[in-house]
Amino acid sequence: MKAKAGGKEGRPEGMSGGAGMGKPGGRIGTGMKFLLVSCLVYVVAYVASPELALSAISVFLRMVVNILPALALVLGMMFAVNLLLEPGKIARYLGRESGAKGWLIAIGGGILSAGPIYAWYPMLAELRKHGMKDSLIAAFLYNRAVKIPLIPIMVYYFGWIFTAILTIYMLAFSVINGFIVGFKRGERNDNSG
């Protein structure tokens, strides 16, 4: 059966096993199916426009090289989470009772995390399994938009007032975003701060 997301019938939503590589018994997981579909899209693109497909492959190879350090960092952090942090501790800092401390960790973590957003999904899934709230995952992901090293570039194009105002709004709305996503996900009693 497909590793269906949605959390119905008591099954974990998102990836909790069997969705990536082939499942035991030789069945292809959802992740592999997705990869095969992506490859199929390239075959279609190549038939339609070989130049476009080759150009895309060249972009892909550059991206793979760029993403490797971030993936290595995420792999190391996932290992550290599994090795050093007890589930109860993660739940205390990022779970139901984390309060303002949890929000600060999620916001700070989102701002400081490097590399593309999708590189961080595996670690967030791991932290969620250990007790991290969905509202804090949403806040973390939203704050990935606040990139301190890129601020000078934004200032160059749009000026420092625009950059400052936009950054302040993004920080504030990351909390609102987390609250709304958390509320919609059923964290009604957990966001009192």
Partner: protein, 157 residues
């Protein structure tokens, strides 16, 4: 069924203490290896989208109507993928071509907070419900924040 319960948050306390290095590494590699095909798939799609859509394309989609343009900016920012710097560069070019700041702000915000191309990966790893709600809320917020930014700039002179 509540997703929180589904995703194992409730059972964290009762799951015991730390694991040994070998078990931790095995668990990490197992979890990580499941994500690799999804990440490669998303990279392939982003690469194709990046190669297929030239930067000049974006300036041709705006209408001159500020309200409509903020929506168009948010839609195209959501569909686009890549490094945030690219969105700044495109935003800078759009500004030079007279596109409204509210549209550009919505475009940049949606680019960095909403991910249509990454949606399959987010959906498979973090759950479809979570990914859908997070992206929808982020999309709407990109328009709200863009309006607030421009309003605040107006107030500050």
């Amino acid at each position: 069924m509540d997703s929180k319960k589904d995703s194992g948050q409730g059972g964290a306390e009762g799951r015991g203490t730390r694991q040994g290095p070998v078990k931790s590494m095995r668990k990490t590699l197992n979890a990580f290896s499941q994500m690799i095909p999804i990440i490669i798939g998303v990279l392939l799609l982003i690469s194709l989208a990046t190669a297929a859509v030239p930067k000049e394309f974006y300036s041709s989609v705006f209408t001159g109507n500020e309200i409509l343009d903020s929506l168009i900016g948010a839609v195209f920012g959501s569909l686009a993928a890549g490094n945030p710097v690219t969105s700044y560069v495109i935003g800078g070019e759009l500004l030079l071509r007279g596109i409204s700041l509210v549209a550009i702000a919505a475009f940049i915000l949606a680019w960095v907070t909403v991910g249509v191309v990454q949606f399959p990966a987010e959906s498979m790893i973090l759950g479809r419900g979570f990914a859908f709600k997070r992206n929808l809320v982020s999309f709407l917020m990109s328009i709200v924040i863009a309006c607030l930014v421009v309003f605040s700039l107006g107030v500050l002179g």
